[in-house]
Structures are given as structure tokens and as C-alpha cells.
């Protein structure tokens, strides 16, 4: 066997590299920007935006990327690049560093976690790259703007809805929580508790941790159903867990006895809006992906040479049988 292995390696790797390198980001821009204010080149400029996503394996985050892509397609000056950190902080640091190397015009980041990403976001910001932080914050104030939802408020809205609309005469609630230790989990729990205070006859009789997962929600609900003969409302911290709980109740023929409430309301076929439309969930509350708003903010900074608010909190919206079909069609016209 005399085939030089390394030659093959070279050939293989080069071929692969060639196959993959459809797009190079050569640009004919004059100077790297020294400050944020110089980032704006007006409507005649061409801008490359780097989007650093924490983990596209989560449907919510994939939807965020899709929303950004769709919104950016409407802005002829924008080209958006995407990187996925696959839930690894170290990978996301490298992703942002690579964007800095590429001298992108604006960074959008949805951080996997705050602390580990703070330094590299500051590095980009200090180089004069405007930074938009979505959904989860970083520490300090070395970024241009934050856009996100308010999980406490969403939890409160859900609590009020249960206390006033679903169970005005009181009843038993079981709560299926998100991953222990995650901030949204704590906030959706805390908000809900505040929301149901209005009606003292509404009681949370049991809680369980579903780790944000449909199958975990289902398994936890199996146990909750055995332990609790009377359940009126299931409040899950996201739609997949609410759907899992529905499946568990259906398996023992009890799904008609109770109402299922979720959060997130993604306008995708497997999302919460469809589940409400099809009658499995009674209601869900939108958790904004912030994608559209991020591109609007980017346009303001780069094309309009304007300034944006440091913190933009997007409101939530109740989705129930009355508006589900209409909102789905509006948010996801193609499918």
C-alpha cells in the first residue's frame, strides 16, 4: 500500500473545504470603525450583521433566527450571518471572536449564559461594534441595547388569567416548572404566584420540575394525576410541557376535567398557538423571540444613524381559542 495517506487527507480536507466555501465575506469597505457612531454609513452602506445564537436545537431559538432572517430580507442593505454555539459557552465565545475578526458591522447575540459571555461581548462593543443582546442579558452595560420579554410579567398574566377567567370560583392548580436553576423558571413561578393572589380560592396543590421538556412534563404529570384526584388547571412553564401533561391526562381519560395553560406560543406547526387552535391547550402566552425588533433596531443604528433604547421589554399576549388561528396566520403566513 503506497498511497500517501497524507495526500489523501489533503485532498479530502481541501475538497470538503471547497465544497463548504460557497460564501466568502469579502467586502469593499474602507475602514474598520473605531466607534459606535461611525458604524452608521446611511442608506447607501452595505452591512454585515453577525447573529450568535446559544442553541438552535431549542425551537424558540430556531424561531428567533428565522425571524431575524425574515426581517433582514426586507432590508436590502443587510446581510446576516448565523452561528450556533450548541449550548456551549466556550463555543459562543469563539463565535463572537470570529465575528470580531470578520469585522462585522453589528453583533446580535442571544447569550447561552450571562457571566461567561460578558467579557467577549464587551470586547466587541469596545471595538466599536454595536451590540444587540436578545432574551438573556449579559452583565454590566457594555452593549448597545437589550431586547427581551419579561418572564415575571408573563407569569403574572398567566396567574391573573387563571384566577379571573378560568377559575373564578376557585380550584386546584398543578404547576409544571422549567429547569431548576434557570432564571425564566424562577420568574415564571414567582409571577404566577403573584397573579393568582387576587383569588384566594385558587390553590397550587402540587408542583413538579419538567426541565422544559415535553416527555419530562408527561412523566411528571403521570405522577401528579395519581397523587391528586382533583386537578382543575395545569400551569406549565412552557408549551411543550403543557402538551406533555395533556398527553398524560388523556392517557387516563382525565383530559376533559382540567384546563392546560402554557407559555411561549411559537407560531410553528409544533408550537403552542396550534395547540390552542386545536383545543389541547386552553391558553398560552407569547414569549417574544425579539427577532423582528432586533433587525428594526439594527436598521435604526446602521441605516438611520439613530439611537435606540438601552432596554426594550416586549409585552406578552394572551392566545386563546378566540384569536389563535388569526395570530398564527399573521405570524406565520407560509405555514
Amino acid at each position: 500500500m503506497k498511497i500517501p495517506k497524507s495526500t489523501l487527507a489533503v485532498a479530502a480536507v481541501t475538497a470538503l473545504a471547497l465544497a463548504g466555501c460557497g460564501t466568502t465575506s469579502e467586502r469593499t469597505s474602507d475602514e474598520p470603525q473605531a466607534q459606535s457612531s461611525k458604524a452608521c454609513k446611511g442608506a447607501d452602506g452595505k452591512y454585515v450583521i453577525g447573529m450568535s445564537q446559544a442553541n438552535v436545537a431549542e425551537p424558540y431559538r430556531q424561531r428567533m433566527d428565522d425571524d431575524i432572517k425574515a426581517a433582514a430580507a426586507e432590508v436590502p442593505q443587510f446581510e446576516v450571518k448565523f452561528a450556533d454555539a450548541a449550548q456551549d459557552n466556550a463555543k459562543q465565545v469563539a463565535d463572537v471572536e470570529n465575528y470580531i475578526t470578520q469585522q462585522i458591522d453589528l453583533l446580535i447575540i442571544s447569550p447561552n449564559e450571562a457571566k461567561p459571555l460578558t467579557a467577549v461581548v464587551k470586547k466587541a462593543y469596545d471595538k466599536g461594534i454595536p451590540v444587540l443582546v436578545l432574551d438573556r442579558k449579559v452583565e454590566g452595560d457594555a452593549y448597545t441595547g437589550f431586547i427581551g420579554g419579561d418572564n415575571v410579567q408573563i407569569g403574572t398574566e398567566a396567574g391573573k388569567y387563571v384566577a379571573e377567567k378560568v377559575l373564578p370560583n376557585g380550584g386546584n392548580v398543578v404547576e409544571i416548572k422549567g429547569l431548576a436553576g434557570a432564571t425564566p423558571q424562577a420568574e415564571r413561578n414567582q409571577g404566577f404566584a403573584a397573579g393568582i393572589k387576587a383569588n384566594p380560592k385558587v390553590k397550587v396543590v402540587a408542583t413538579a420540575s419538567g426541565d422544559w421538556l415535553r416527555e419530562k412534563g408527561q412523566a411528571q404529570m403521570d405522577a401528579l394525576l395519581k397523587a391528586n384526584p382533583k386537578i382543575d388547571v395545569v400551569y406549565a412553564h412552557n408549551d411543550p410541557m403543557a402538551e406533555g401533561a395533556y398527553l398524560a391526562a388523556k392517557a387516563v381519560g382525565r383530559e376533559k376535567e382540567m384546563k392546560f395553560i402554557g407559555i411561549d406560543a411559537l407560531p410553528i406547526p409544533s408550537g403552542g398557538i396550534k395547540a390552542v387552535e386545536q383545543g389541547r391547550l386552553t391558553a398560552t402566552f407569547t414569549y417574544p423571540t425579539n427577532g423582528k425588533e432586533a433587525i428594526a433596531a439594527a436598521k435604526k443604528i446602521l441605516v438611520d444613524c439613530g439611537t435606540i433604547e438601552k432596554s426594550q421589554i416586549l409585552p406578552t399576549r394572551l392566545i386563546d381559542k378566540a384569536n389563535a388561528a388569526q395570530i398564527y396566520a399573521q405570524e406565520n403566513p407560509t405555514g
Binding site: P4, K5, A12, V13, F82, T101
Partner: protein
């Protein structure tokens, strides 16, 4: 680095040298040539800005080596394990445990820099040694032992950290890590060389030198080549195995310390899947999973190859899903090339 490459099982045989020629040389340095090829491809395909090749900018090259330093440190230990025909699936979890340990000891318990590091490294060493004992003395396959070890280390990390990332702030006050620790994440030599890269380099050089000068090296290759023959010829197989797993655990813990300082946090979810990246680096480096054949230098080249590949794919904004495909194919290609290699 040629000395440690392909040490035959027990008695040295000149087969590899006799087969001679260019082909043999190329095979022998498979990963080094592979690295060169990927490096050249990276230069060719690098995006440019005002004539400057972005890939070759000092900052970018520093980023590349910094990004591979943790996997590189782990992969050196993994090379030892694979050389004796074993595997260690626990390294990513041990990294997480060590990252949590560094953060908890220095931040929450207000320990000093040195005692914390020593304890964390000792935990890795002991954890590895215990895995080595289970496989060498009880005779459980290392795949199973370290699969269990992965779960145990992950569980310990979750318990130790209460399931949450422990943020690291630096200073002299209470609940602050010593500023000395922060230095490990800095750069040196005029801000060009990240310290984690230096640590990786020291580990790699120490491993190469160690394999060259110590009798342990002969034992290592002997156990990997033919365990039974090694035992019969008086190699202390059990001790070699325990030592190898202990070294691997120690290096995984060291990588965990580096991880914590680079991300200013120790999280029980750190290092998930890193064992697979480390194994990939070892395989691309030309070390045989059957044991007995391979080198640390090859692994270093393999780790760098993966790093350069990751970087140039990212600089060109190749879709992240396509990146996974490409990396998978490179690993298959490297393994396929090993099959073509002349037998020794």
C-alpha cells in the same frame, strides 16, 4: 516526536523503517501534513479585508489556539489512555467538576489560589486513578467504567454547585477569587499568546519528553500492543493502567481550571461532549483506537487541525449544520487513512 511514534509491542522491529520511502514518511506524519493542508486551505479560503488575510491576523491565530487549548490538554491525556487500548468518556464531566470545584473553592469558600488548584487537580487525579483501578483490577472495560464515571462526575458537579453555574469575580474581598487566578486567562508576550495556550504547550511538551525518556513509555506501548505479552514479559500492567487513567483525569481537571478562568464561571454543565472532541483529535492525530500505536505530537496536530478547520468554517460563515457534516467527514477520512497505513 518520531521516537514515540509506532513503538512496536514488545521487541522493536524495524518494519516501519524498512518499508521506507516517501509514502511511509507521509503516513507517519499524517496529521502534521493534514494540519499543513488545512492551514494552507484556510489561508486560501480566508475572507480578506483591504488585502489583509483575516485568518492570518495575529488576533485570529491567537483565538484559534486559545479555542483548542482545553480540548488539546484533554486530548494529550486521552492519547495515553487510547495508547493502552482504553478509552475515557469521563473527561468532559471531570472538566465540569473541576470548573465547579475551582469556582466554589475560590469564590464561595474563599480558599487561596494554590490550595484550590491543588485540591481540584488532586480530585481529577484520584478520580482517574479510581477509574483505572476499576478497569485494571476488576477488569471492567474502560468504556463502561468511564461511562459510569461520566455520570458520577456530572452528578458530583451538580451537587457541589447546587445545579447552578458559580460566577467568578476577582478581587481580595470575600466571595472573590484571588487575582492571581485571573492571570491564567490573560495573555502574555506582548498580549499575543494566551496563557491557556502556554499551559497546553507545556503539557504537550512534557508529555512528549516524558514518553521519550521514561521507561514508562515502553510499558505503555507494550500494554497497548499486546497486554498478555506485556504481562508475561514483566510489565506491571495494572500499575501502568492506573497511572494512565490518573494522568488523564489530572489533565481533564487542569482543562477544567483553564475553562473556569476563561469563562469566569464554573458550571456543572461545562464540558458536555468534550470527550468526543478529544477522541476526534486523537484519531485525526493518527493514534490507533486498538492501542499500541500513535503519538502525542500527532494528537497536538490533530487538535490544531480541528481548531483551524472550525475557525475557517466560521470565518466563512458556513452553516452550522454543514460544519458538523464536514467535521464528521474529516474524522472518517482520518480513520480511513489509518487503514491504508502499512502494518508494522
Amino acid at each position: 516526536m518520531t521516537d514515540v511514534q509506532d513503538k512496536p509491542a514488545v521487541a522493536p522491529t524495524p518494519v516501519e523503517k524498512a518499508s521506507g520511502g516517501v509514502a511511509a514518511t507521509l503516513f507517519r506524519f499524517q496529521s502534521v501534513f493534514g494540519l499543513l493542508a488545512v492551514f494552507v486551505a484556510a489561508i486560501i479560503f480566508s475572507p480578506r479585508r483591504d488585502g489583509e488575510i483575516l485568518f492570518l491576523s495575529a488576533d485570529n491565530l491567537a483565538n484559534v489556539v486559545r479555542a483548542v487549548s482545553e480540548i488539546g490538554i484533554i486530548a494529550v491525556g486521552m492519547t495515553f489512555v487510547i495508547l493502552i487500548g482504553g478509552i475515557d468518556l469521563s473527561v468532559g464531566a471531570v472538566l465540569g467538576l473541576a470548573a465547579v470545584g475551582s469556582a466554589v473553592l475560590m469564590v464561595e469558600s474563599d480558599w487561596g489560589f494554590l490550595p484550590s488548584i491543588v485540591v481540584v487537580l488532586a480530585i481529577g487525579l484520584v478520580f482517574g486513578a479510581l477509574q483505572g483501578m476499576a478497569t485494571a483490577m476488576i477488569g471492567i472495560q474502560s468504556f463502561i467504567v468511564t461511562l459510569a464515571g461520566l455520570q458520577i462526575a456530572r452528578g458530583l458537579a451538580r451537587i457541589w454547585s447546587d445545579g447552578q453555574g458559580v460566577a467568578i469575580a476577582y478581587g481580595d474581598g470575600p466571595n472573590e477569587a484571588p487575582s492571581t487566578f485571573a492571570l491564567l486567562g490573560e495573555r502574555t508576550f506582548g498580549g499575543l499568546v494566551p496563557i491557556p495556550v502556554l499551559i497546553f504547550a507545556v503539557v504537550a511538551i512534557a508529555a512528549v519528553v516524558f514518553l521519550r525518556i521514561s521507561a514508562f513509555s515502553r510499558h505503555l506501548y507494550a500494554v497497548g500492543g499486546n497486554e498478555k505479552a506485556a504481562r508475561l514479559s514483566g510489565v506491571p500492567v495494572i500499575r501502568v493502567k492506573i497511572a494512565v487513567f490518573a494522568i488523564c483525569g489530572l489533565l481533564a481537571a487542569l482543562a477544567g481550571v483553564v475553562h473556569a478562568v476563561q469563562l469566569n464561571q464554573g458550571s456543572p454543565n461545562d464540558g458536555i461532549g468534550y470527550e468526543l472532541d478529544a477522541i476526534a483529535a486523537v484519531v485525526i492525530g493518527g493514534t490507533s483506537l486498538a492501542g499500541g500505536r500513535g503519538s502525542v505530537a500527532g494528537t497536538v496536530a490533530g487538535a490544531l487541525l480541528l481548531g483551524v478547520l472550525n475557525n475557517v468554517l466560521a470565518l466563512n460563515n458556513i452553516d452550522s449544520n454543514i460544519q458538523l457534516l464536514i467535521k464528521g467527514l474529516v474524522i472518517v477520512a482520518a480513520a480511513a487513512l489509518q487503514r491504508l497505513r502499512p502494518a508494522s
